[in-house]
Symmetry: C2
Subunit: 358 residues, 2 copies
């Protein structure tokens, strides 16, 4: 492990995005969005993916200078064409449109096509907080998940983020994959050579498995619930809703046709849409009741849940967003440790683009 | 088991609602909403609860003649005060407001306070279909579910319904409790004296249990996922989002303060709001892209999922809403079988209000 400060990694990442042709503003925004994953402890979606984004650009699947535009709108909705831009840049632009519409008519809802991976959903959803709005962000992703009863992969891990402001308490920030376990958790077990718990993956024939490498052998991840008896049809429904809101509403690719993140994987044939899809929402709190009143009740809600009686062996009930916030504080102060493989990968990028490596 | 036709039960139910003082229109609507649960196979939420609604009215917790009104609004939002009405009547009124707002500005979002149980979420969400809109419905409910790590009950089964129109294919209708298993499934096992699968319930100390009667002994149901290792924190987040959208946004009761359905249970003390809360949404499809285009892609989506390769022992992947639609067709044609206890309960109601029993 090598340790870096946040500002070192931010500056390096921004320089890489500048090097592939992003504008100053876009490079700064993309770097901030990408590193928000590392800060919040979602290491699988952060700087470890920087070289992956560069390879997508090399494969001409990412446009470094997108003309992001609204192609259809009503007072409370829009469809945005991301022009093959980095999702890290398209996402914030679309979320801002949702916020602007909420400012005007109470809520704003934006479905996005022709985009790429946008990092963590939480970064986009949390943009709503400074406007006293509830923020919603979701995205589809390439198919790694088998619907209940299937042995085929038809859905991505399709995360949902819902961010809700509070008063004296910190905001409620839910950000979760609609699978039993996020891909990043599988990767951690792969590095440790450990088995996966039951209900996380299945083999290529659709049979239960605890092999963490099952995905490489044609197997699939499982929807939240794990199996039918434990409600996996609900996880499958959630992942489907994310897919449809993000892509069928906007005109992006859906289901098994969502483009893969690794540039070396072939694109699916007969694409029904353009790029990857996202969906964003913003709801002004005072479009429902006075913001101060709402926040006072959110504080009561949070305090009641924090003080719940717990089962033996646990400290207390966690409010969504708490662990990530603690991680962000820690890493901002003490720096971020990167795995040797990630550091090497970044050093190669530095050499490739003649950029100083911290 | 005794068998009845749908129209016999509908007419009887309407007469009961008339007898407690509902208007002709309200009684007809409430009966239709309640029986939609029986038709769709959600027997736990249908006519079996009719006497429960009557007892709530006797306890003066239900107002048979509510003045349902908007207390705050913007072009795309409203908060509705249900005036202690039946949720079966307040729900459709609020959903209609969401639909009207969507007609005007693309989407409509309505949070409801001071209501009661509204039957199945699907009935309300499906109102959007005839308007070529996506429909969303959710509600909180009295606390039977322990958040991850807690031994206390702080959330209801808090269902989410999302209804999405298709073209030649039947619509996508997701309607599910945010717990591993809905209460109705536990009740079925209770009648059979069977054990519950792991991950459905825990005992009063927060320890895993397979005893289907655990709720009566101070135990709790578990959020979708079952335990932390299988993502129960995600089910807990989903249930929390439903609670906050339904009640903290509107001014209803939330968390452990949601009034219980059985009238004999005491009301929680120090209520932070009024009644039970719901949340409804409607999104006009053509606020995003032409409806015919969207529906063509939904058909492709549905056909692709229906034709997925399946694991051994399964017929095919189910599209959300299919089993309930098949049940509705069957029961509409062949009638509904009621358990002896339910029939007896209805006969007592008939006697109580001097109404003919079919």
């Amino acid at each position: 492990m090598t340790s870096f400060t946040y500002s070192e990694l931010l500056s390096f990442t921004k320089n890489i995005f500048r090097a592939i042709g992003c504008s100053e503003d876009h490079a700064a925004l993309a770097a901030k969005a990408l590193l928000s994953a590392d800060l919040r402890g979602v290491d699988s979606h952060g700087i470890a993916r920087l070289s992956g984004y560069v390879r997508l650009w090399q494969a001409q699947r990412v446009n470094a200078n997108p003309q992001i535009k609204i192609v259809h709108e009503t007072p409370s909705t829009a469809v945005v064409d991301g022009d093959k831009g980095l999702g890290l840049v398209v996402g914030p632009a679309a979320m801002q449109i949702a916020i602007d519409k909420a400012t005007q008519v109470g809520t704003g809802w934006v479905s996005v096509k022709n985009s790429n991976h946008f990092g963590i959903a939480g970064f986009h959803g949390m943009m709503a907080l400074q406007h006293d709005m509830i923020g919603i962000a979701m995205t589809n992703a390439s198919a790694t998940v088998a619907p209940t009863f299937a042995k085929e992969r038809l859905l991505g891990t399709n995360p949902i983020c819902v961010v809700i402001p509070a008063g004296k308490e910190q905001p409620f920030v839910a950000d979760f994959a609609t699978t039993t376990a996020a891909n990043g958790k599988l990767e951690v077990l792969q590095r440790k050579n450990n088995n996966a718990p039951h209900g996380w993956v299945q083999d290529k024939d659709g049979q239960p498995s605890t092999d963490v490498n099952e995905l490489k052998k044609g197997g699939a991840m499982l929807p939240l619930g794990g199996d039918y008896e434990h409600g996996s049809h609900k996880g499958y429904m959630l992942g489907s809703i994310v897919d449809i809101f993000s892509a069928v509403l906007s005109g992006a690719n859906y289901g098994p046709w969502v483009p893969p993140f690794p540039a070396y994987l072939p694109m699916p044939g007969h694409l029904p849409g353009e790029g990857i899809g996202h969906f964003f929402g913003a709801m002004r709190i005072d479009a429902f009741r006075p913001a101060e009143e709402f926040k006072r009740h959110m504080d009561t809600w949070i305090q009641r849940f924090k003080s719940a009686a717990v089962a033996e062996g646990f400290e207390r009930v966690i409010i969504p967003g708490e662990p990530e916030r603690a991680m962000e504080k820690l890493r901002m102060e003490h720096g971020l440790d990167l795995l040797p493989a990630v550091t090497e990968d970044l050093q190669k990028l530095a050499t490739q683009f003649s950029i100083d490596f911290p």
